[in-house]
């Protein structure tokens, strides 16, 4: 990839990051109280998250339908769309751990980073722990290789 394309690629990723963050802010998903209100089925339930996912998947399904037909990205790079279909233990155990943490705090990675950017101290603690968790995962990967 040439220098110009590299700059364009980095720039596009930055802008897409901002766009994704704005989507999280507008939808209210950067507010852990709103996430927990969705997860609290037995309480005062706030179904907003279903509409967020619905809107995102509506656009996403068109995009992935188009993307699967392509052999190259717009920037000319290879397409890296996962092809695995097998169900394994790490998928289930990892997702369960993720769900427990998500339910404890009301934060998942994207909203936590946006909240950190707005100067939330509590988001900083969460993000530090989250990165530490990711680092721990990388250590277990090293040993198994």
């Amino acid at each position: 990839m040439g220098q110009d394309q590299s700059i364009f690629s980095n720039g596009s990723k930055y802008l897409i990051g901002v766009l994704f963050g704005l989507g999280l802010m507008i939808s209210g998903m950067t507010n852990p109280a709103k996430i927990l209100a969705f997860l609290d089925l037995a309480g005062n339930w706030d179904p907003s998250l279903i509409f967020v996912m619905g809107g995102a998947v509506l656009i996403g399904s068109v995009a992935f339908y188009l993307a699967k037909k392509r052999t190259q990205s717009f920037l000319g790079g290879a397409m890296h769309i996962p092809t695995r279909r097998d169900i394994d233990r790490p998928l289930v155990v990892g997702s369960a751990m993720f769900g427990l943490g998500w339910g404890l705090a009301g934060f998942c990675p994207g909203p936590a980073l946006v909240s950190l950017g707005s100067g939330e101290m509590k988001a900083l603690v969460f993000v530090i722990a989250m990165v530490a968790g990711m680092w721990l995962f990388e250590q277990t990967q090293k040993k198994s290789v």
Binding site: V18, L58, A63, S73, G77, V92, L100, P109, G133
Partner: protein, 143 residues
């Protein structure tokens, strides 16, 4: 089940969701890969640091979103975080490790995975949603 009509906002939720979908669409069409926040962030600290600058650019985009929101659109983030610091730390460890171990989070499995009809992502999404329902039920209605 009682619906909280004062907080439930289907309009902004759908609009925000469509923007998230557009972001995921642009990401895969322009760059050819999945917009998954945990994967992009995790790749920054992994042993094979490929695409470091592009990953960092995306993460920087998320971190600087509140600035754009504030100065361009007069938007503010309202975050009500009830959890104490210890809970947040434990939750962060679980979210970070779990997302990497399970190959994705709410964006990669939830948005992108469901969009491309991936059976792995569907199972992952159902799993983390059910665990989220369970832990909130235990904390708010059991203990």
């Amino acid at each position: 089940m009682m619906i909280d009509w004062t907080s439930f906002a289907p309009g902004p939720a759908s609009a925000g969701g469509i923007i998230l979908g557009i972001a995921a669409a642009l990401y895969v069409l322009i760059n050819g890969s999945i917009l998954g926040v945990s994967g992009i962030l995790g790749g920054l600290i992994g042993p094979n640091r490929t695409d470091w600058l592009r990953r960092a650019s995306f993460v920087l985009g998320l971190l600087t979103t509140p600035l754009w929101g504030k100065y361009l659109f007069q938007m503010r983030t309202t975050a009500v975080i009830d959890a104490d610091y210890l809970t947040l730390f434990i939750a962060g460890l679980l979210v970070g490790f779990g997302a990497r171990y399970g190959s994705g989070c709410t964006s990669g499995h939830g948005i992108c995975g469901l969009s491309r009809l991936s059976p792995r992502s569907l199972l992952a999404t159902l799993t983390f949603m059910c665990c989220g329902f369970l832990v909130v039920f235990l904390i708010r209605h059991w203990i």
